[in-house]
Structures are given as structure tokens and as C-alpha cells.
């Protein structure tokens, strides 16, 4: 699309100031009935600067973000408003784009986890897991049972911390500001455990191809049990503060409704898809790790509105705790990473004893290990939906191409559809309930 538009020549005289561009005509031209506003940023600015653009039209283009308290980072929305009603909108993303997929082509498979963990910073372990599963698929290695269960434990705890963060921000966006403090407080408890296990609160680089970085620390069971005791009563408090509260319900019920067909068409996964009543959860439907061996329910909604999405996430915290409880009982003994000299570095003590171990250690950390040629796709159910990694290897020690199917990136597409004909105040509730993590959207 170009700015100068031949169709608008007739109306050029009314524009006066800027012949060739007739604002009113342009407003009409952009007026189809779809929910998505398909204007470029330049065109949008052009219309905004044109005093005649709203001459015989009630519609106004409004810019929201990229720095707005409710956008959880840097999401910009171009809204076409009529009064307080949103007609069409367009999410503008890319403000956090740092070329991580390009960078992944420069990093070895061992370094790759440090890169991907920074994508979805609210649930970093899931991206590490998807990356590791894809690499392992190409390598053709099986990780030890204990490593699988540790991964599962950490991921479920991460799902809890991620959803607790959602509870906090969702509450804050809707004016339940004290909820923000409670949500962060509970999340912090989980992060404290992560710090103990991985050394870091975020960006763990803990799950690596071949297993995990370190075994669980002594006394980890007590810490997990402490979490399992601490969080349920807090969730009850959330129920009192939000779930049953009339203002909260009024604010969310019937807002931002999506049905299952629309969700499927828009490639939506995760809680947004499940809120439409469509029970699809990769943990159950395409099991990975040891999920067939634990018992849990897939939470679905029935109306596909913001309230369902909130309730699903709240109950998924409970389901995750159920899974964690079972993992506590079933955690097998054994190795926490595969004993394959080419993939995992030798134990520290071996380096002092064996020249060969030293060489392996040196090789793995300098040039990395070579991964057989081929392409593979591995996916996991992240708190936001299907998180997939598509990896192409040309037989060297760095991926030839690594693509991440970020669920947030795809879920952002639903915003215009959820917001159409809604109020701008509900728009805030909708952005919040889509729960995009901008680091993953922009990568």
C-alpha cells in the first residue's frame, strides 16, 4: 500500500492542505468490517496528522502503548475508536526484537539454552525444555528417568509461578491492586526454590540437552512440601478477593468472547483455546516427559471469556500442585543427565584423573558437540500454549536454523477479535487475559 492513492483523486479538493490525500476518503477506505485494522504505522501516522481525516466520520485512530501499564512490556495497539467503542485494532509488536533466532545460529547447542531461556521470561524452563527435546530428537538420545522427572517437577513449578504472575498482573490491570502484591509474593516463594536448585531466579539455563544442569539439592523435598502447604490457602484467598466477588465478575464475564472454531482458525493454543471449552492439552493429548504416569485434569471453560481464562489459570495452579505432589512420591533415583561423553561434560572429579575426560570437557565447552544432520520439531505445553522448537542441523555444532513457535506471538492475533465492539476499558482486561509475554512475541 502506498500513501498516495489514485482512488482518492476525486476528493482531493476537500483535503485542501494536502492534495492527493483525502483523509475522509482514507478513513472509508480502511473501513472494512473485519476486526483487524490492517494499516501500516506510517499510514496510521498520516491519518493521525491529517486534520481532515475525521471530517465526516466519528471514527478516531487511537494509539495505545508501546509503554502502557497494561501492556506488560512493550506492546502497542492501534485502535480505531467510535466513541468509547473499539471497532478495529492492530497489535504492533517487535519492540523487544533482538534477533534471538539469528543469534541461535551462532551459538552451540550447549550455549543455545542460555539464549532461548530469555524468550519467555515468565516461564523460561519451558523454552529450555522444548529446545532440549528438539536437540535430543536430532541426537537420538534418551535422557535418564530421573532427569525426566526433575524436568517435569521444575516445569510444573514454573507453570505455577507463571500463572501466579498472571494472577498478579491480571488483578492489577483490573484495579485489584492488592492482588498484584499477593501474586508477586507467592511467585517469589516459587522463585526462591528455583534459585536454590538452578542458582538463578529467572533465565535458569537449567534444562539442557542430555538432562539437567545439576541434581536436586539436599532437602529439596521439604522445600517443595513447604510450597504445597503454603500456596493452597493463598489461592483460597484469591477466591475470596476475586473469583466470587461481584465487581470482579462484572468486569470479566462476557468480555472478550471467543468460540472454539475461531480459536482453532486463529491457531490459538493453551488457556485461550481451553477457555472455549475445547479440551486440548499436549500433556494429555500428545504426552511428553512422564506425563502419562501422573494424574491430572485438563481444565476447560465454557464461555471463552476473560473470566474463563482467569479461572482456568487459577485452577491450573491447583492441577500443577497435584502433579508436583505425585512427582514427590514417584521421583526415581538415578542420574540427572545422560552419560554420553560426547554430549554431557564429565564429572568434575574425572577431569583431574583422566586426560580423556579433560579433552571431552574442553571440546564440549569450546567447539561443542556435533549434532547429526536433519530437522526436528518438538513441542511442549507452556503456560501460554504450544511452545515448539523447529530445529535444522547441518551436522555441525551450531543449529543451522532454530525457530521457536512462541504461543504468545500467535495468541496476540486474537486481540483484535476479542476487542471488536468492546469498550476501551475492556480492552485492558482483554490484553491482560491473553497474557502475552513480549519477550516471546518479539524474540
Amino acid at each position: 500500500m502506498t500513501i498516495t492513492d489514485q482512488e482518492n483523486v476525486d476528493g482531493a479538493e476537500t483535503a485542501g492542505l494536502n492534495p492527493g490525500i483525502d483523509g475522509a476518503e482514507r478513513v472509508k477506505r480502511r473501513g472494512d468490517d473485519s476486526a483487524v485494522l490492517r494499516l501500516s504505522e506510517a499510514e496510521c501516522a498520516e491519518i493521525g496528522n491529517d486534520p481532515h481525516s475525521n471530517a465526516d466520520d466519528e471514527r478516531v485512530l487511537l494509539n495505545m502503548g508501546p509503554s502502557h501499564p497494561s501492556t506488560h512490556g512493550v506492546l502497542r495497539l492501534m485502535l480505531e475508536m467510535e466513541g468509547e467503542t473499539i471497532l478495529r485494532s492492530k497489535p504492533v509488536v517487535g519492540y523487544l526484537h533482538t534477533g534471538m533466532e539469528k543469534q541461535a545460529e551462532q551459538l552451540t547447542y550447549l550455549q543455545g539454552c542460555t539464549n532461548v531461556t530469555r524468550m519467555d521470561y515468565a516461564s523460561p524452563l519451558f523454552t529450555e525444555l522444548a529446545f532440549s527435546l528438539a536437540t535430543e530428537k536430532l541426537l537420538g538420545i534418551e535422557v535418564p528417568e530421573r532427569a525426566t522427572w526433575i524436568r517435569m517437577l521444575m516445569c510444573e513449578l514454573n507453570r505455577m509461578s507463571s500463572h501466579l504472575l498472571f494472577m498478579a498482573t491480571n488483578g492489577m490491570d483490573l484495579g485489584a491492586v492488592s492482588m498484584m502484591i499477593y501474586g508477586w509474593r507467592e511467585r517469589e516463594e516459587v522463585l526462591r526454590f528455583f534459585e536454590k536448585v538452578t542458582g538463578l531466579r529467572m533465565n535458569h539455563n537449567y534444562i539442557r540437552p542430555g538432562g539437567v544442569a545439576a541434581d536436586m539439592p539436599d532437602g529439596w523435598e521439604a522445600d517443595v512440601e513447604h510450597l504445597l502447604e503454603l500456596i493452597p490457602p493463598r489461592l483460597e484467598e484469591y477466591d475470596i478477593l476475586m473469583t466470587g466477588q461481584p465487581i470482579w465478575r462484572e468486569r470479566l464475564q462476557g468480555v472478550g468472547v471467543l468460540n472454539a472454531d475461531e480459536a482453532l482458525a486463529l491457531s490459538v493454543t493453551g488457556p485461550i483455546l481451553r477457555s472455549t471449552g475445547y479440551a486440548w492439552d499436549l500433556r494429555r493429548d500428545e504426552p511428553y516427559l512422564a506425563y502419562p504416569e501422573v494424574d491430572f485434569d485438563v481444565i476447560v471453560g465454557s464461555y471463552g471469556d476473560c473470566y474463563d481464562r482467569y479461572a482456568i489459570r487459577l485452577n491450573e495452579i491447583r492441577e500443577s500442585m497435584r502433579i508436583v505432589e505425585q512427582i514427590l512420591d514417584k521421583m526415581p533415583a538415578g542420574d540427572y543427565r545422560v552419560q554420553d561423553k560426547k554430549v554431557t561434560p564429565p564429572p568434575r572429579v574425572r577431569i583431574d584423573q583422566s586426560m580423556e575426560a579433560l579433552i571431552h570437557h574442553f571440546k564440549i565447552f569450546t567447539e561443542g558437540y556435533k549434532v547429526p544432520e536433519g530437522e526436528a520439531y518438538a513441542c511442549v505445553e507452556s503456560p501460554r500454549g504450544e511452545l515448539g522448537v523447529y530445529m535444522v542441523s547441518d551436522g555441525t555444532s551450531t543449529p543451522y536454523r532454530m525457530h521457536v513457535r512462541g504461543p504468545s506471538f500467535i495468541n496476540v492475533q486474537t486481540m483484535p477479535h476479542l476487542m471488536q465492539n468492546g469498550l476501551i476499558a475492556d480492552g485492558v482486561a482483554i490484553i491482560s487475559s491473553v497474557d502475552p509475554i513480549m519477550g516471546e512475541v518479539d524474540r
Partner: protein, 183 residues
């Protein structure tokens, strides 16, 4: 589309497939079937890409789960492609999912030339909109008839396609690097 017409469409495709079975390859949705690490891969040409996804859509593949591209410009070895498929510089990779049968297929289309073009999947799968924009943004692959073929992650006025293999990584100048070496 009702179930009957969907089944008919699938039958038509099956019939069409019989006409050209290719050299000892299985044909599905008019495309050659291959396998990679346990996943089903279809290899249609650019011309038959739309037919393939239309047939897959009619056969119950109700969601487009992923769409990306790979630039094979500097690929060291020879890629494993089924006979009859000519390797192109670019490859568009589309992943579809059938929720009822819990089945996934991956469609790999070879594209050549400096201005690669492929039809959009938007009409069948509106969820492809952002994914196709991303591929355009990063690889310069144009999706014909896409409703909004514009950059999505890079700035609108950006020149070049960053994920192409002939696009340098570049670097940020470090402020003190040029300091004197004298001690």
C-alpha cells in the same frame, strides 16, 4: 463445508494422486510423503502447495500450528529430500494438526529465486497471518494474496531480511575498544 463434501474432496485428491504416483513414493494430498524423526513430512511444489493444504484442511487438519522458513544457502551437506523434489534455496515449513486423530503433518515447500513467492494459507487458516508476516519480514518470502504483507518484528522501513544466510550478523561498536594499547 459439510462432512460429505470434505470426504469427497479428500477422495478427489486421492484419485488425483493415483495418476502420478512418482518413483516409489507414497502420495498424500497430492504431495510426496517422507518421514523425519518419526514425523510425517509432505513435499508439495509451490504450484500444488495450496491444493495440499486445502485437501489436508478438508481431511480434518483443523489448525495451522506453525509456519516458518529456512534459508539453505550455506547448508554444508546435501539435504535428504525425496526423489523428484528439486532443492530450492528457501524452504517454507508449515505444520498442521488434526486434533481428532491427534496427528501432525509438516509440509515443506522448496522455493528458489531472489524473490520467492508462495500462496498464502490465510484463507484456510487465518492464524497464518502473523507467521507469514514474520517469514516475509525475516526471509523476504512473499505470500501472494496475504491481506497485510508487511514487516511484523523489524521496523517498517528496514532494508534487508535478517534471517537470510547472506545477511551479516553485524556488531555494535564498543565505545572503548579503540583505546590505546600502550601501557
Amino acid at each position: 463445508m459439510s462432512d460429505d463434501t470434505a470426504a469427497e474432496a479428500a477422495d478427489d485428491v486421492a484419485e488425483a494422486a493415483v495418476e502420478d504416483p512418482g518413483p516409489e513414493h507414497q502420495i498424500r494430498y497430492t504431495a510426496i510423503v517422507a518421514e523425519s524423526k518419526g514425523d510425517v513430512i509432505l513435499h508439495p511444489s509451490v504450484e500444488t502447495y495450496l491444493d495440499t493444504i486445502t485437501a489436508a484442511h478438508a481431511d480434518g487438519f483443523d489448525q495451522l500450528i506453525d509456519l516458518t522458513a529456512v534459508d539453505y544457502l550455506t547448508y554444508a551437506g546435501k539435504r535428504a529430500l525425496p526423489e523428484g523434489i528439486e532443492a530450492g534455496r528457501f524452504e517454507v515449513v508449515t505444520a498442521l494438526i488434526n486434533h481428532q486423530r491427534r496427528e501432525r503433518i509438516r509440509i515443506r515447500v522448496q522455493l528458489g529465486g531472489d524473490e520467492p513467492t508462495i500462496p498464502t494459507a490465510f484463507d484456510l487458516y487465518p492464524g497464518a497471518e502473523y507467521l507469514e508476516r514474520e517469514v516475509y519480514d525475516m526471509f523476504g518470502i512473499v505470500f501472494a494474496d496475504h491481506p497485510d504483507m508487511s514487516r511484523v518484528l523489524m521496523p517498517e522501513d528496514w532494508v534487508g531480511y535478517p534471517l537470510r544466510k547472506d545477511y551479516a550478523i553485524g556488531s555494535i561498536p564498543v565505545q572503548f575498544k579503540a583505546a590505546s594499547n600502550q601501557r
